[in-house]
């Protein structure tokens, strides 16, 4: 946002500086290198002036105003270091410590504690307190994930303000008063926030601790790397920390355009999945009907053999690749090059039947996350952001609550942001297109002279309804002037995968097969000409015996794909199945070759979030056992199929992407390393958003930072290292090195590649009518719950317990219509199948609709959905 405030001159400790009028003094001082100590003030929260640590003297002002609540005016003269100020600082620190337990040796914060650090730097050094300290029971749980030690609490209200102001979950507050004042929860309303981990991070002492991290490490044993969360496609920036080759903590890093330092609990604690017991350590091949461990060369040879056989017998279209939306961009690019440039098939889809066609993802005019802040209005037509893209939920909520941006909610059922909407268009699942036609009229009063783009958060609101109605709605909304889209796809790097060609009809860099043909033939030697199948198409073909080799890249396909019967038939019907994964999933158990892959935390690279912003992913630990990064597996397979990519490092892959993939022009390893807040594609449109500076973080405020021996008062320039992937040398490497391969075109000299036009979605979309619902049926809306059976949650002990119980929620009138009691089990039948489920009445669910989150419970939505149908209608019968 452009700062249009008047510039004033302020003198702080004798140094003149310029600052925007009305800016907080503490920030002005900080931006100019003067650290005013503080506890309660936090960059992203409203100032409260509670801790009194930041008192300063201002000439002409009586007493000592807090720097965190004082705004600067022209000619202001401030003293932050006078004797009077020093005495007040001593006083406040002494007060804070009189009742503090000082159990630093057993406190998680010890060693990275703002209270320790600021006491050392600004405090009296000695206490005169001889009375008995305050005592509380230690510690008490305030949520499933967070514990509170009230003795250590310094009552700064950062946690309570976070919960209230930022998360909108005012579930913790202060109780009692004076010395007894303490953080409390409400007995009837537990602290069930999806964002609870942030309270631990912002707590300036060890009062709040997170269950997964408690007592796991001492700060001085930790080492960190900057990374991006890949749990969902918001791509929150974080600092990933390990101790003794074990991931122990992810902390949010404040990136203005993305996450403001926040993380959701799933992203924050999901690193535990990396250390899951069931991680596969070695490759496996099927021998005598069962998978047995083998060496990498054996497994790679077998996989290449399977592909080659199908290629020779049935041609490239008999080969298909599904998945790849959770890896890095470098992985995605090499998978795409393997499939499209080496094998020659376009049957490639990173999405698993729950997303949107690549034309829509790539072809709509894109918005960035900061566009939300300045939008004239936000249209929500898609998933429940709170459940699927939690930190984006925070940002939309902030735009609405703090910045006054009106929300138009177009949805089938209430979701996390519904209560903030200024207007709502309700539709039956599948009727998105007719709802979209009402948008223009509903929008007019909301916009009411406001300027800025209209940001549409567009996505699939549920997996029981096909993509078609959303595509039709997109085509309608696109015609509304000034609209820009944030396509709300969920998986960590799904956008990067699509951008890099893991989608039927596209080549890396947002070009169609047609538009990119010449360029990629020149670059790769060949590229598919025929548009291939998407995931549903692939499984259909496979179930009919038309897929000779199926490559499953990541994903727990049987549980991730909305139609379980189809996916099982597909995997079962494929001639040869190669599975690349971290664990042996249901589909992997049926594979002919299983190749263990490294996961987030174990490999470096980049990822692309839903805006199309590329940011770095860091490698923090070495994998246990012998998994390989995907990009290496793809290279090894290519080598065995006759193509040597000759790309040894992540940087080399990045440079090749920048040369070859049109939308990535100029986005090479150098730029990716330097761009502080990432790079939004295409660079040509977003060049002015680039920040090529290292991150500056005041030393004390972010308690996870290494303490500088010189003490505070300065800023540390934090330059996170992108750790080079170090692969355990193995036999296949050497074998590969020996094999001379014939590269068709020398792409290391990329200059002179033919141009390729970036894709724009211009086709008129003829909306297909959605079938009507008969009066006896309920239409299923299967959104998601943040905590579901997906791998991240299922493999994370801290989160597993939070998966909600499975139930079908309907309007209470339906319960009485069926004639059962609330909570009673009923038989639920669809065209696809039937299940016994418990029924819960919920007045927020419109009549005629049934709500059940996807991927919860042993059986569920996946057994009811037929992906060939546009909508899923179900019938209820009593069991009596």
């Amino acid at each position: 946002m452009k700062d249009e405030r008047e510039i004033v001159t302020v003198t702080i400790d004798g140094i003149e500086m310029q600052a925007p009028k009305g800016e907080l003094l503490i920030r002005v001082a900080q931006d100019n290198g003067t650290f005013v100590p503080r506890f309660c003030w936090h960059e992203r929260m409203k100032p409260v002036g509670m801790c009194r640590m930041c008192l300063v003297e201002v000439e002409g002002v009586r007493g000592m105003p807090p720097a965190c609540t004082t705004t600067v005016t022209d000619g202001m003269v401030v003293n932050t270091k006078s004797e009077t100020v020093k005495k007040a600082q001593d006083g406040v620190l002494e007060f804070l410590l009189i009742n503090h337990p000082l159990d630093c040796p057993v406190c998680d914060r010890g060693g990275e504690c703002p209270l320790q650090d600021q006491t050392l730097a600004f405090g009296p050094g000695e206490s005169r307190y001889v009375e008995e300290k305050r005592h509380f029971e230690k510690p008490i749980p305030i949520s499933e994930l967070v514990l509170l030690d009230r003795e250590r609490c310094i009552q700064c209200s950062r946690c309570t303000r976070f919960a209230d102001e930022i998360a909108g979950d005012r579930l913790i507050d202060f109780g009692e008063r004076g010395g007894e004042m303490q953080v409390i929860t409400y007995p009837d309303d537990p602290f069930t926030s999806y964002f609870s981990g942030n309270t631990v991070q912002v707590c300036p002492v060890g009062a709040l601790t997170a269950k997964p991290y408690r007592f796991r490490a001492r700060p001085w044993d930790l080492s960190a790397v900057e990374t991006s969360c890949q749990t969902c496609s918001v791509g929150c920036r974080g600092s990933l920390e390990s101790s003794s080759n074990e991931l122990v903590r992810l902390l949010g890093v404040d990136v203005e355009p993305v996450n403001h330092g926040w993380l959701c609990d799933k992203g924050r604690f999901g690193y535990e999945a990396t250390h899951a017991e069931d991680r596969a350590r070695n490759p496996m091949i099927r021998r005598d009907g069962s998978l047995v461990e083998c060496s990498w060369p054996e497994a790679l040879d077998a996989a290449a053999e399977g592909i080659k056989r199908s290629l020779d017998l049935h041609g490239p279209a008999s080969i298909a690749m599904v998945g790849g939306s959770r890896g890095t961009n470098e992985d995605a690019y090499l998978w795409a090059r393997l499939a499209k440039g080496v094998i020659g098939t376009d049957n490639v889809d990173a999405q698993i039947g729950d997303g949107l066609p690549a034309e829509v993802v790539l072809g709509l005019p894109g918005a960035t996350i900061p566009d939300l802040d300045e939008a004239a209005a936000i249209i929500l037509l898609g998933p429940d952001l709170k459940e699927e893209l939690p930190v984006l939920y925070l940002r939309v909520r902030r735009a609405c609550v703090d910045l006054g941006v009106p929300i138009l909610d177009v949805s089938a059922v209430d979701h996390g942001l519904s209560k903030y909407a200024s207007a709502t268009i309700r539709h039956l699942p599948g009727e998105q297109a007719s709802a979209a036609r009402e948008i223009s009229a509903a929008l007019a009063p909301l916009i009411d002279g406001r300027s800025g783009p209209i940001v549409v958060v567009l996505g699939r609101s549920d997996v029981a309804t096909s993509a078609e109605p959303t595509v039709a709605a997109a085509a309608i909304i696109r015609e509304i002037p000034n609209t820009r889209f944030l396509v709300a796809l969920r998986r960590g790097n799904v956008r990067g995968a699509i951008d890099l060609g893991l989608a039927p009809g596209f080549l890396p860099g947002r070009v169609t097969l047609d538009a990119g043909a010449e360029r990629f033939v020149a670059a790769w030697g060949s590229a598919p000409a025929e548009v291939g199948l998407d995931t549903a198409g692939i499984f259909n073909a496979a179930s009919e015996g038309r897929i000779g080799a199926l490559i499953l890249v990541g994903a727990d396909i049987v549980n991730d794909f909305p139609d379980r019967r189809l996916v099982r038939a597909g995997v079962g019907g494929a001639g040869f199945v190669i599975c690349i994964n971290a664990t042996v999933t249901e589909a992997a158990a049926d594979a002919d070759v299983f190749l263990p892959a490294t996961v987030w935390g174990e490999k470096a690279g980049t990822t692309t979030n839903l805006e199309g912003r590329i940011s770095r992913v860091g490698r923090k630990i070495a994998a246990v056992g012998n998994p390989m990064p995907d990009f290496r597996i793809a290279s090894e397979l290519a080598l065995r199929l006759g193509t040597d990519f000759d790309l040894e490092t992540v940087e080399e892959i990045q440079d090749e992407i920048a040369r070859v993939a049109p939308a990535f022009a100029e986005v090479d390893a150098q730029l990716l390393k330097r761009a502080r807040d990432g790079v939004v594609l295409p660079l040509a449109l977003h060049r002015d958003e680039l920040v090529l500076e290292p991150r500056r973080i005041p030393v004390i405020d972010f308690s996870w930072e290494p303490i500088k021996p010189e003490g505070p008062g300065e800023f540390e320039v934090v330059e996170f290292e992108v750790v080079e992937p170090v692969l355990e040398a193995d036999a296949s490497d050497e074998a590969a090195a020996e094999e001379e391969s014939a590269l068709p075109v020398d792409i290391s000299n990329g200059a002179g590649l033919p141009d390729a036009q970036l894709f724009v979605w211009s086709a008129q979309h003829a909306a297909q009518p959605t079938p009507g619902r008969d009066n006896y049926a309920l239409r299923l809306s299967a959104g998601r719950s943040l905590y579901d059976n997906g791998r991240t949650v299922a493999s994370t002990p801290a989160l597993r317990a939070l998966i909600p119980a499975q139930t079908l929620r309907v309007n209470p009138s339906e319960i009485s219509r069926v004639g059962v009691a609330d909570g009673e089990s009923v038989r639920v039948s669809t065209a696809r199948g039937s299940l016994v489920l418990s029924l819960t009445g919920d007045a927020n669910v419109p009549a005629g609709v049934a709500v059940m989150p996807f991927n919860i419970g042993e059986t569920g939505v996946g057994d009811l959905v037929d992906v060939s149908l546009v909508v899923t209608d179900l019938r209820l019968e009593t069991l009596r």
Binding site: M50, R62, G91, Q155
Partner: protein
């Protein structure tokens, strides 16, 4: 002025308390009120230009807030930003300052007078919705206020188009939940909004952004109860009462070791001696004793002693402030005779403030508790000779300079209030306190004190 040189024999000057003294049988009823001239001032005010009421009457009367700070009421009203509506008037009826009990009397015995004051003031400042925040413990007061509000409504003194003037006013009465800090005006506003009662950071001041972030005037019960009389008498006439910039009368809640504790409305300018010793006022110290020390303006104030210099000081807000660094505050005068151990009094006061600190800011939350603990030790025979200096420095970290008006490291003056007893001990009873510490003297038998049998009469 009613004080005479010689034996003090000052008398009350009843203006605000006239009706409730004259008609103890029905002063709180609408009939009793209207029969004694009630609502006439309001009727007259409705014919005046609203702005003129603040400027020409209230300001001219020199009326200063009776809640504690003594801020000129007309000036406060003039801080309302032009053309910003709605505006609210909030009546502070929380009366939590220890030993202050005048507002309770006004609420219980003359609720219509308060409503008339609210009505005139609301008209003057352009407010159509006023709030009365009454202390939760005032059960009878709340009942009578509610009844008065209903009756006033029914009689057309409240509601829409009052007396055909086109002016509308409604009043909401809110019962507080029992926290001293909720008497502080910004904490009161938060509490009224349904939030935890904790003082807010200023600026913005309530006159600019107060209740629900709208311009708001907070005034004390006695302040507003005085307004009808200013209208009746005329501001200039009212200003003739009193002394210097302390015009008019004030109700003093006199308590402690006097023969006649109670509320006395006196003209400002009489002396503390007049108040304590006049036969129709305090009637002198109990058992013919002498004043050892007294607290001149509520628990928050620093103390004065039984010296002639102090006893002969006039009840003049500015004079006592400038001369002795004490305040008339809420008008509560607590008198202690020579049997009293000042360390014990200091501890009881500190205990009150530690208990009532809202907890928002560090120096008060932690410091008041610390002071309380040390004063407990001192008063119970466990003091160390260095403790008094320690307390002074701890106090200095809450209220740098240890002066009044307070300078403070805290958000509101509650923290510094807890320092007042410490400073007073140091100023007047240093030797006594240090001797106690050296001899391990106990102020009282601990058991007796703990069982509530304190000769202070202050329950815990």
């Amino acid at each position: 002025m009613t004080s005479v040189i010689g034996a003090p024999n000052a008398t009350e000057t009843r203006i605000v308390t006239k009706r409730l003294r004259d008609r103890p049988e029905d002063s709180w009823t609408l009939d009793g009120f209207t029969q004694s001239g009630g609502y006439e001032a309001f009727r007259a005010a409705l014919k005046l230009d609203p702005e003129a009421i603040g400027a020409e009457q209230v300001a001219a009367a020199g009326l200063r807030g009776r809640g504690g700070a003594g801020f000129p009421t007309g000036t406060k009203w003039s801080f309302l930003p032009k053309d910003s509506y709605p505006r609210y008037l909030v009546v502070n009826g929380d009366e939590g300052e220890p030993s202050t009990f005048k507002d309770r009397m006004l609420i219980e015995n003359d609720p219509h007078q308060l409503i008339e004051g609210i009505a005139i003031s609301s008209y003057a400042i352009g407010c159509n919705l006023a709030f009365i925040y009454v202390r939760g413990e005032f059960a009878l007061g709340f009942e009578r206020l509610e009844a008065a509000r209903r009756d006033a409504h029914a009689a057309g003194f409240l509601g829409a188009n009052i007396l055909g003037s086109g002016f509308d006013l409604d009043i909401v009465i809110h019962r507080a939940a029992g926290a001293y800090i909720c008497g502080e005006e910004t904490a009161l506003l938060s509490s009224l909004e349904g939030d935890r009662g904790m003082p807010r950071i200023r600026p913005p001041f309530p006159a600019v952004a107060g209740l629900y972030a709208k311009p708001t005037i907070v005034n004390n019960v006695e302040t507003l109860s005085t307004v009808p009389h200013i209208m009746r008498m005329g501001g200039a006439e009212y200003a003739k009462l009193g002394v210097n910039k302390s015009t008019g009368t004030r109700i003093f809640s006199l308590s402690g070791h006097v023969n006649r504790p109670g509320n006395y409305e006196v003209e400002l300018g009489i002396t503390f001696r007049d108040l304590i010793e006049s036969p129709e006022l305090g009637g002198g110290v109990r058992n013919g004793g002498k004043v050892k020390f007294f607290i001149p303006g509520g628990a928050s104030s620093q103390w004065l002693t039984g010296s002639d210099e102090h006893l002969d000081a006039p009840l003049d807000m500015d004079y006592v402030q400038q001369t002795f660094g004490v305040m008339l505050g809420s008008g509560a005068v607590m008198v202690y005779d020579e049997t009293t151990n000042p360390a014990l009094v200091a501890w009881r006061l500190a205990k009150f403030f530690a208990h009532e600190s809202c907890g928002k800011c560090t120096p008060c939350r932690e410091g008041t508790g610390w002071i309380e603990k040390v004063l407990y030790r001192i008063s119970h025979g466990y003091g160390r000779p260095q403790d008094l200096d320690l307390l002074l420095d701890v106090g200095d970290n809450i209220s740098p300079g240890l002066n009044a008006p307070f300078s403070q490291t805290t958000i509101c003056p509650l923290g510094p209030s807890a320092v007042s007893p410490v400073v007073s001990l140091h100023k007047f009873f240093r030797e006594e306190v240090i001797a106690m510490c050296q001899n391990n003297d106990r102020a009282l038998d601990v058991t007796a004190s703990d069982s509530g049998a304190s000769d202070l009469g202050a329950g815990e």
